[in-house]
């Protein structure tokens, strides 16, 4: 097995709230190999976006390590971290708030280059911007356009171009297609997969959409209330989901196929609450159809059920 490019070790991020500590990210271990994609799925509030930001050190972790090529980036001094940032980029969900409305397309894409002084000549920067725009499939006639003049798909392409501007190795994709219509969504997904192949990029792909995540990931991690409940290679997870929450998530996806047993599926009760001062034990137990007394009380470790397939469940 090759060395993972990104790794986290008992990574935690707690937020102080008036009601207690919110365990947004609670003890996450993950590792991604170069050129691969780890999909992180879960419902709103499960901590997946926070995880992405902590990995990029946009938020400081409460505890734990984030290793990039073996180096703990959370302990890097400010100057070295600035250099490191070129390797680590992010693409956001909202194609509206993720672009500075006062900057033109060329300024948005050029700003990372200027900030890091990769190129200094105006002409060179301009050429690089055009090249990046072509890479993401944008016509260069939009070079002086402003974000509000463009549609969601094109804006998202600008976001991708900005992330690529520094030639990073690792990109956190935070729901990059969730705000888009299906046909545009497919265009962007294709683009991201092409870029990955071309440039051997590594992705952490955060989404709530199981069918999207299946499509793009090599490995999937399911999060529930800040914790990882199951992680497995993509095909394994879809064929053999073990954790009851994963099963519920999979069975809840509406499939665009006619089925004999239409409308009949496994439903789970209740809704997600927020993990403020959670009690030890399985956080899904309250909604779980198979809950037992030993689900609560003690922390339940992830155990390896088959090669690479880890589950945190007493069953």
């Amino acid at each position: 097995m090759s060395v993972p490019i990104v790794e986290t070790k008992n990574l935690k991020k707690y937020f102080r709230t008036s009601r207690g500590d919110l365990h947004a990210v609670d003890d996450i271990h993950l590792s991604i190999e170069k050129g691969k994609t780890l999909g992180v799925v879960g419902e709103s509030g499960c901590g997946k976006s926070t995880l992405g930001r902590v990995i990029l050190r946009l938020l400081e972790p409460t505890e734990g390590e984030v290793l990039f090529e073996g180096q703990d980036i959370c302990r890097l001094p400010a100057r070295q971290m600035e250099k490191m940032r070129r390797q680590l980029q992010i693409i956001f969900q909202d194609p509206f708030s993720s672009l500075n409305p006062r900057l033109s397309v060329s300024d948005i894409i050029a700003d990372p280059i200027r900030t890091n002084k990769v190129l200094s000549h105006k002409q060179e920067i301009q050429e690089r911007v055009v090249e990046l725009m072509h890479t993401v499939g944008l016509s260069d006639r939009f070079i002086n356009a402003y974000p509000h003049e463009l549609d969601g798909g094109r804006r998202q392409r600008i976001g991708v171009a900005r992330a690529l501007a520094l030639d990073p190795q690792f990109i956190v994709c935070d729901e990059p297609v969730s705000a888009l219509d299906v046909s545009i969504q497919a265009q962007i997904l294709n683009l991201m997969m092409d870029l990955q192949e071309e440039r051997n990029l590594t992705y952490l792909f955060i989404t709530h959409d199981m069918s999207v995540v299946k499509h793009i990931s090599n490995q999937i991690m399911v999060m529930y209330m800040g914790q990882c409940v199951e992680v497995a290679p993509t095909d394994e997870l879809f064929q053999n989901p073990i954790h009851p929450y994963t099963q519920a998530l999979l069975s809840a996806i509406p499939v665009p196929k006619l089925r004999r047993d239409r409308g009949k599926r496994q439903l789970i009760r209740g809704e997600v609450t927020s993990p403020v001062n959670p009690k030890p034990g399985c956080r899904f137990a309250a909604r779980c159809p198979y809950a037992r007394p030993d689900c609560t009380g003690e922390a339940i470790p992830l155990t390896e059920r088959s090669p690479g397939h880890w589950v945190s469940c007493v069953l």
Partner: protein
């Protein structure tokens, strides 16, 4: 047989600053009692506008029905007075909106919000009677009646959507317009709400128009499907026609090609290039021609009409002489 809803050649426009936005351009639809129709399309296709036209709730100053008829139970409501429409809304036809977080009044108790519909349409009911009915409706949508004196902010998103559904179904309308009722919800909650809607539909025999961009939701809940593009219905048929039929409008093919398939192994998706035209500047001819892989010169000059056989209709020149191979 009389249809519950029959829309004939509906045109809706919005007048903005200067530009005339043609949001719905000649929609024909029929819906029979007990049927569920999925109205599918991307943002800006004119789905919501069609629903608002049926409710006669288009934005007053800007939106208007330019042409066409909407026959509800045989009566053309495009000509109905405002007072008549108020009697229909909530009792014969009601609507569920997309965002449950904003579609409830934050300062009124949820029980009262449900009770208000009854109050408006059943003037003969006493206070206690209404309370009793509200309790029943709460139980029906799976909410504890004890919580009816709470305010919307005390409920989660899924619960609020149940309240919205309770309001819509309180008077047992014959037609329910559900505008993306589960889009704002998480998958597990979406499944709960869809299951609830399905159960209520069977129980109350409500006809439903389900507006959605999610073909999966359609496959699970609808009897008929209409696919909209740039204000027109470009393909219509039963779910079998759409999901299992072999002939499709090129746009429908693109739409299906865009959805990541859970069962296939293939990694690349097959979307359509480009995007929907701006409804203020619609192209000549077929509105899809500049994105269509099969477009001919004729497509850019002449708008195709709907070609029907049995239950299945496609608005495309390719199908002029009946079924033709598309692949």
């Amino acid at each position: 047989m009389e249809h519950l809803l029959e829309i004939k050649n509906l045109h809706v426009v919005y007048k903005g600053d200067g530009a005339l936005v043609r949001a719905v351009n000649g929609v024909d639809l029929t819906l029979d009692r007990g049927e569920t129709l999925g109205l599918v399309g991307e943002t800006g296709a004119g789905k919501t506008t069609t629903a608002l036209a049926i409710m006669r709730l288009l934005p007053e100053r800007t939106g208007s029905i330019q042409e066409g008829q909407i026959l509800l139970d045989g009566n053309d409501i495009t000509k109905a007075s405002d007072a008549d429409m108020r009697v229909l809304r909530g009792s014969l036809v009601s609507m569920i909106f997309q965002d449950p977080m904003t579609s409830l009044n934050p300062t009124i108790r949820v029980g009262e919000q449900v009770g208000e519909v009854l109050e408006l349409h059943h003037k003969d009911l006493g206070k206690e009677e209404i309370e009793k009915r509200v309790d029943e409706i709460f139980k029906l949508v799976g909410l504890p009646p004890e919580r009816k004196s709470e305010y919307p902010h005390q409920f989660s998103g899924g619960m609020r959507q149940r309240i919205v559904i309770a309001i819509a179904l309180a008077c047992q309308p014959q037609l329910l317009l559900a505008d993306e009722p589960t889009t704002a919800l998480d998958v597990t909650i979406q499944a709960q709400v869809l299951e609830l809607m399905q159960r209520l539909k069977e129980k109350l025999h409500t006809s439903t128009i389900l507006i959605t961009h999610d073909l999966g939701v359609v496959a699970e809940t609808c009897d008929k499907v209409a696919i909209m593009y740039a204000g027109e219905i470009i393909e219509i048929g039963t779910v079998e026609d759409i999901f299992e039929g072999r002939e499709h409008h090129p746009y429908t093919v693109g739409l299906f090609g865009s959805i990541p398939d859970l069962e296939k192994k293939e990694r690349r998706l097959h979307p359509i290039d480009g995007m929907m035209p701006d409804p203020a500047y619609l192209p000549e001819g077929c509105k899809f021609h500049d994105r269509c892989p099969k477009a001919t010169e004729r497509c850019s000059a002449q708008a195709p009409s709907m070609h029907m056989w049995e239950s299945h209709g496609i608005r495309c020149h390719l199908f002029e002489s009946g079924r033709e191979k598309t692949e």
